[in-house]
Amino acid sequence: MSYLLKKREFAMFMMLMVISFCISLITPAFLTPSNLLSIVMNNIILAIMAMGMTLVIVTSGIDVSVGSQLGFAAIFVGLAALIPGSNIVTVLTVGIICGIVLGLLNGILIAGAEIPAIVVSLGTMNIFRGSLLLYTNGKWVTSLPAWYTSLYNTTVMGIPIPIIILLLVIGATYFIAQYTRLGRSIYALGGNPAIASRVGINTGMVTMFVFAYMGALTGIASILYGAQLATIDPNAGTSFELMVISAVVIGGANVLGGSGSLLGSLIGVLILGVLQNGIILMRIEPYWQNVVVGLILITAVTLDVVNNRKKEERKKVIYVAEEVKAGGSM
């Protein structure tokens, strides 16, 4: 299984390389260190949230409310930053708590009332955005303090803070997925929920965890969102959920659950980021971006299905061949 996953990541990585190669042939400005850094910096929020979404999708869930969550947490982070005497610890706490509360709400509804994840998050998407707009009355949070907005450009030992945060998030998520019982439970739940609960996994708790974790990461992302833009719009993050889900799906996660890797999702984020950057650099009309992104999504998922089917068939042939060798007593 992990072999198959690696193959998929390799294919997507090659796709990323081919796209990058083509863009760099057309426009030399692409392959400069400063441009590559700006691609990474511009997609850190997407990457952080894609880590959480990978776990959600692995459990065969989906969260379309993350865009609303991002806006919600960003506004409260901004308000917290405006309080005199607040510092990075304050905004971090506010952002993460906001995210966890919203995510947990999704998790409780999904696990507790057994309402499908897509329906719950469809409802909470409206609830989160509606209550935020009602609270702010549509007003933006502006004139953020300098210590907060400089967070985005500050470097520690030459590495920008957003990149450090991203690396920490990747590390934590990788650790959870790879080295903990919880991580194994997440994959088990997505693979087969009935069997997972029979072997003693508390499926409700696992579901609540992945949605709360998604929320926590969205909270962290919201801090960078405000710091990057310096003003926070209560409509922030609208339809961002589709970007996050697209990146994870391009990276090879199966929405039916059970498979998906963090590395794949990061490659998915990079493919989207490189495309967006390339279209701007090549001075192609920006309207073409959706055509290209859509085609890549469709191609990726279709190739995945066709590929898997071929492998299944080959497995079947080998199985039959072994049966025959074993004496043909089928």
Partner: protein, 318 residues
């Protein structure tokens, strides 16, 4: 109509009647013929979208691309008119576009076997991209006066044309689902596609037509939207996608497939329309409307799953 006896639709119907009573108590102008007719006008645009979405969800699929198809349709209609001068040709080509988009989804889902949510996530972006490229991101508004009849005209004095179209399409879809062999196959595929195969149902064919149907409904919806707002724009349908899925689910269609009725969907759509209209009349801000619509969806589903919640709660207490 089959399935009306099932408890879910009754709960929703009670909820709906309660809502109407509350609204008419809070806003005196709610319960007037003209206002109720304008409610039906507001609901028909995403109601028609929801008809297609319902049929798709009954097969345990989902179609996120309907909004983009509606948007693309408006562009195709406007551009064809601008180039040929024939409104009939423009509308026919628009509806054909919807059917082709649906067929594109259908082939990938039914023939190749890609999960519907993935296909339509991709085509949602792709169709929207095509519409943007065709229109260069602009709104097109040089449409003839006759075009506005569908979205702004009235029949028999004060009955909105789009309400009539919605009703006719809803009845036709309901008959299609409950009275035709195709309808029975749609439910069979949603219930258990493996069993459907063994009972001789061509699952791929059924699915293909389901997505073509959703595409055509999206095209009709796009046609009406652009006629009402007198412009064509790529993003006109986008806001209605989530709303139409929510209304369908609210109306009792199981997102896991196999059950659901058009009757339920029409009530689900009506709940959203009455909420929006009533809250407007009372003077509640549009921000709160968003919140209350989300709450209504979650609340009805919570009431619906009460037995599960009770069971889980007792286990949790112990």
């Amino acid at each position: 109509m089959i399935g009306v006896k099932r408890s879910h639709e009754w709960i929703l119907l009670l909820f709906f009647i309660g809502l109407i009573i509350i609204m008419s108590l809070l806003a005196p102008s709610f319960l007037t013929v003209n206002n109720l007719l304008s409610v039906t006008q507001q609901m028909s645009e995403f109601g028609i979208l929801a008809l297609g979405v319902t049929v798709v969800i009954i097969t345990s699929g989902i179609d996120l691309s309907v909004g983009s198809i509606a948007g693309l349709t408006t562009i195709v209609i406007a551009m064809t008119y601008g180039w040929s001068g024939s409104l009939v040709a423009a509308i026919l080509l628009g509806i054909l576009t919807g059917a082709l988009c649906g067929a594109f989804n259908g082939v990938l889902i039914a023939k190749i076997g890609v999960p519907p949510i993935l296909v339509t996530l991709g085509t949602m972006t792709f169709f929207n991209g095509i519409a943007l490229v065709l229109s260069k991101g602009n709104a097109i508004s040089d449409l003839p006066e006759e075009f506005y009849f569908v979205g702004q005209g009235y029949l028999f004095g004060n009955i909105p044309v789009q309400t009539v179209i919605f009703l006719v399409l809803a009845i036709l879809t309901s008959l299609l689902l409950s009275r035709t062999p195709w309808g029975r196959r749609v439910y069979a595929v949603g219930n258990n596609s493996v069993a459907a195969v063994f009972s001789g149902v061509r699952v791929d064919k059924v699915l293909l037509y389901v997505y073509i149907f959703a595409g055509i409904m999206a095209a009709v919806s796009g046609w009406i939207i652009s006629s009402r707002v007198s412009t064509a724009r790529a993003d006109l349908g986008a806001v209605y996608v989530m709303q139409s899925i929510a209304a369908t689910v609210l109306g009792g269609t199981n997102i896991a497939g196999g059950s659901g009725t058009i009757f339920g969907t029409v009530i689900g759509v009506s709940v959203f329309a009455v909420l929006a209209n009533g809250l407007n009349l009372i003077g509640v801000s549009p921000f709160a409307q968003n919140l209350l619509m989300g709450l209504a969806l979650i609340l009805v589903l919570l009431i619906n799953n009460m037995s599960i919640i009770k069971r889980k709660f007792t286990i949790f207490i112990r």
